[in-house]
C-alpha cells in the first residue's frame, strides 16, 4: 500500500501514466478564483450595459447565463483544459484514462454541478470528494473525468557526481533500488541527513578506509560512500 494519492492510468501501449488527482482544497480555491473572475466580468458588463434599458438588461442576463454555465465548459475544452482559476492553481481536467477531456464529458461534469451543489454549498460534492481516493465529485464520477495537478512532483534528480566504488557484497534488487533512490534525493537533503540514512546501509557499503587506489588516509563518511556505490550501480559510459 502506498500513501501517495497518485493513480495509474493505463494506455493502449500497455504502460501506466501517473496522474495526481487534486484534492478538495486546491479545487475550492480554484472555484473561489473563478467565482471572483465571473463576478468581476459581470460587474463590468453591468456597468457598461446598465445605461441601456431593455436590450442592455437582456444581454446582461444572457452574459450571466453564459458565465454560470458556458464559462467552465468552454475553458475546459480549450488547450490546457482548465478554467482560469484552475490554471492559476496548476490544475487540469482530463478523462480518468489520462486522455484529453471530451466535449460530452465537459458538458456532463458541468451540468451536474447542480447535483454536487445540493443540498447547499457543494455539500454532496465535498462528501463525494472526501470519500474517494481520486477526489471525484459527483459530476466527475458520471462524466468519467478527473481534476489533476498538471505538473508532477519530482523529488529525485540526477545523481551527484562521485568516483564509482563497488559495494562490499553483491546487492539484491531491493537494495539497489533503495540506494539509487536515496542517491537521487541526496541533493535535496543535508549532508548530515544523507550520512545518517546511509549509515543504515553500512553492512553493504565499502569499508570507511577503502578507496579505489588503495587505503584512504582518512575514514570516509557513509554518505559519500553510498553515492559512490550508486555511481557504480549506474555503470560505465
Amino acid at each position: 500500500m502506498t500513501l501517495d494519492t497518485t493513480i495509474l492510468a493505463e494506455t493502449p501501449e500497455g504502460i501506466g501514466i501517473q496522474l495526481r488527482p487534486a484534492g478538495a482544497v486546491p479545487r475550492a480555491l480554484a472555484y473561489a478564483m473563478d467565482w471572483f473572475i465571473r463576478f468581476i466580468t459581470f460587474s463590468v458588463a453591468a456597468a457598461v450595459l446598465g445605461g441601456v434599458k431593455g436590450m442592455g438588461v437582456g444581454i446582461m442576463l444572457i452574459i450571466y447565463f453564459g458565465l454560470e454555465w458556458v464559462y467552465p465548459m468552454v475553458f475546459e475544452l480549450l488547450p490546457g483544459a482548465a478554467t482560469p482559476g484552475k490554471r492559476v492553481l496548476g490544475l487540469q481536467v482530463m478523462m480518468d484514462t489520462g486522455l484529453p477531456v471530451t466535449p460530452s464529458a465537459a458538458v456532463a461534469r458541468n451540468l451536474l454541478r447542480v447535483a454536487d451543489f445540493m443540498p447547499l454549498a457543494y455539500a454532496f460534492g465535498l462528501i463525494a470528494m472526501l470519500l474517494r481516493s481520486d477526489f471525484k465529485r459527483l459530476g466527475d464520477i458520471v462524466a468519467g473525468t478527473l481534476v489533476v495537478h498538471a505538473e508532477q512532483v519530482r523529488l529525485a534528480g540526477k545523481l551527484p557526481e562521485a568516483e564509482p566504488l563497488a559495494p562490499r557484497v553483491p546487492l539484491t534488487r531491493a537494495q539497489q533500488v533503495a540506494i539509487l533512490r536515496l542517491a537521487g534525493r541526496a541533493r535535496r537533503l543535508t549532508t548530515e541527513r544523507v550520512d545518517e540514512l546511509a549509515a543504515l546501509a553500512e553492512d553493504v557499503l565499502p569499508p570507511p578506509d577503502y578507496a579505489p587506489g588503495g587505503a584512504s588516509p582518512a575514514p570516509i563518511r557513509p554518505g559519500p560512500r553510498l553515492l559512490a556505490v550508486a555511481q557504480w550501480l549506474m555503470g560505465q559510459h
Partner: protein, 342 residues
C-alpha cells in the same frame, strides 16, 4: 545493461520525440522525417519528426519506459521517460477535428435517436407533467379559489396582470421589452431544465418532483385564467413556444430520470459504470433540450408576447411548431440508427 548504457543508447530517440512534440505544440509544419543514423544525435539542423514518425517514436519510448521500470533504473531516468510518454500520449490521442462532422451527426441522427431510446422514461415524465395539469386545471376551473392552495395571492395577481383584461399589447409580462425578456427566459428556463436533469441523480425523484411541481403550477394558472375568461389570451401566448419549452421540460426530466434509473437498477454493471453509461446516452438529449429552450425563449420573447397578432394566426403557427417538434423527435434519422454495440 546499466542505466548509463541504456541512456547513452536511446537518448537520441527521446530528444527527437521531445523536439517533434515541441514542433507539434507550436503548430509548426514538420519537415520531412528521416531516420537518424545509429549514434547520431538530433541537432537544430536535423529535420523535426512529423506526426507519423512521432507516433512511432512514442511507441519506442513506451517500450523504454517499461524496460526502465522493470529494471528499476534510477528515478530521474524513469521520471524523464514518464513525463515524455505522458506528454506524447496527450498529444497523440487528442481530438483531431473541430467537431463539425460530429455536430452534424448529432443534429441529424444522434439527438432524435437518443430521445427515442428514452421513450419509456419520456412516457413516465410526460404523465407526471400532464396529469397534474389536467387535475389541478379542472379543480381550479370548478372552484377558482383552489388556485390559492397552489400559488399565493401576490403571484395570482401578477399572472392576472400578465394575461388579464388590462394586459395591454404585451402578453405574458408585467414590464420589460422583448430583448430583456429574451435574456430572462434563457437564463431562467435553461437553469430550471438543467436543475431538473441534475436532480435526477437523486434516484430520479428530484426530476419527477420538479416536473410535477411545474405541472401543478401550470395547471393552476391555466385553470384560473380560463375561469376568468382570459383563456384565449393565455393559450395563444403559451401554445407556440410551448411546443419547444414544454417538450424540453419533459426531455430534461426524462434524461434526469434515466440517471436515477441507472443508480437504482444498474443491471449487470456497477452503479458507477451504469451512471456513466446513462450520462453518455443522455448527453445528446441534453444538447437537444438546450437548443429547444433557446428557440423557445426567442419565440416567447418576440412572437408569443406580441398582442397584435391574431390568436388564430398564433394557433396556426403553434400547430406547425408542434408538428415540427414531434416529427423531428419521432421520425428524423430513422433507419440511420447507429450500431448498438459501441
Amino acid at each position: 545493461m546499466t542505466p548509463r548504457q541504456f541512456e547513452a543508447r536511446y537518448e537520441a530517440c527521446w530528444i527527437e520525440l521531445e523536439r517533434g512534440l515541441d514542433a507539434l505544440d507550436k503548430g509548426r509544419r514538420a519537415g520531412k522525417a528521416r531516420k537518424l543514423k545509429a549514434g547520431e544525435f538530433p541537432t537544430g539542423a536535423t529535420p523535426v519528426a512529423g506526426g507519423a514518425h512521432v507516433a512511432q517514436l512514442y511507441r519506442q519510448c513506451c517500450e523504454h519506459l517499461a524496460l526502465a521500470r522493470e529494471r528499476a533504473y534510477p528515478v530521474h531516468l524513469v521520471a524523464r521517460l514518464e513525463t515524455l510518454a505522458a506528454r506524447a500520449h496527450q498529444r497523440i490521442y487528442r481530438r483531431h477535428d473541430f467537431g463539425l462532422a460530429a455536430l452534424r451527426d448529432l443534429v441529424l441522427y444522434r439527438a432524435p435517436a437518443a430521445v427515442r431510446a428514452l421513450r419509456w422514461h419520456l412516457l413516465v415524465v410526460a404523465l407526471v407533467f400532464v396529469l397534474p395539469i389536467v387535475v389541478v386545471g379542472v379543480a381550479t376551473w370548478v372552484d377558482p379559489h383552489f388556485v390559492l392552495t397552489m400559488v399565493d395571492a401576490r403571484q395570482v395577481r401578477m399572472f392576472d396582470g400578465m394575461y388579464g383584461q388590462e394586459a395591454g399589447e404585451h402578453l405574458g409580462r408585467t414590464s420589460g421589452d422583448d430583448w430583456q425578456m429574451f435574456g430572462f427566459y434563457i437564463m431562467h428556463n435553461v437553469g430550471i431544465s438543467f436543475q431538473c436533469f441534475a436532480a435526477g441523480l437523486m434516484l430520479g425523484i428530484g426530476s419527477l418532483v420538479m416536473v410535477g411541481y411545474n405541472g401543478l403550477i401550470f395547471g393552476a394558472i391555466a385553470g384560473f385564467l380560463v375561469t376568468r375568461g382570459d383563456g384565449e389570451r393565455f393559450f395563444s401566448f403559451v401554445c407556440t413556444h410551448g411546443a419547444f419549452e414544454l417538450t424540453a421540460i419533459v426531455l430534461s426530466g426524462a434524461a434526469g430520470l434515466k440517471l436515477g434509473h441507472a443508480v437504482l437498477a444498474p443491471g449487470r454493471l456497477t452503479r458507477t459504470q451504469a451512471l456513466m453509461q446513462a450520462a453518455r446516452e443522455t448527453s445528446p438529449v441534453v444538447a437537444c433540450f438546450f437548443v429547444f429552450l433557446i428557440i423557445a425563449a426567442a419565440i416567447e420573447a418576440f412572437w408569443s408576447s406580441a398582442g397584435w397578432i391574431a390568436p388564430g394566426v398564433k394557433y396556426g403557427m403553434a400547430a406547425c411548431c408542434w408538428t415540427l417538434v414531434f416529427a423531428y423527435l419521432g421520425l428524423q434519422g430513422r433507419g440511420h440508427e447507429p450500431a448498438r454495440a459501441r
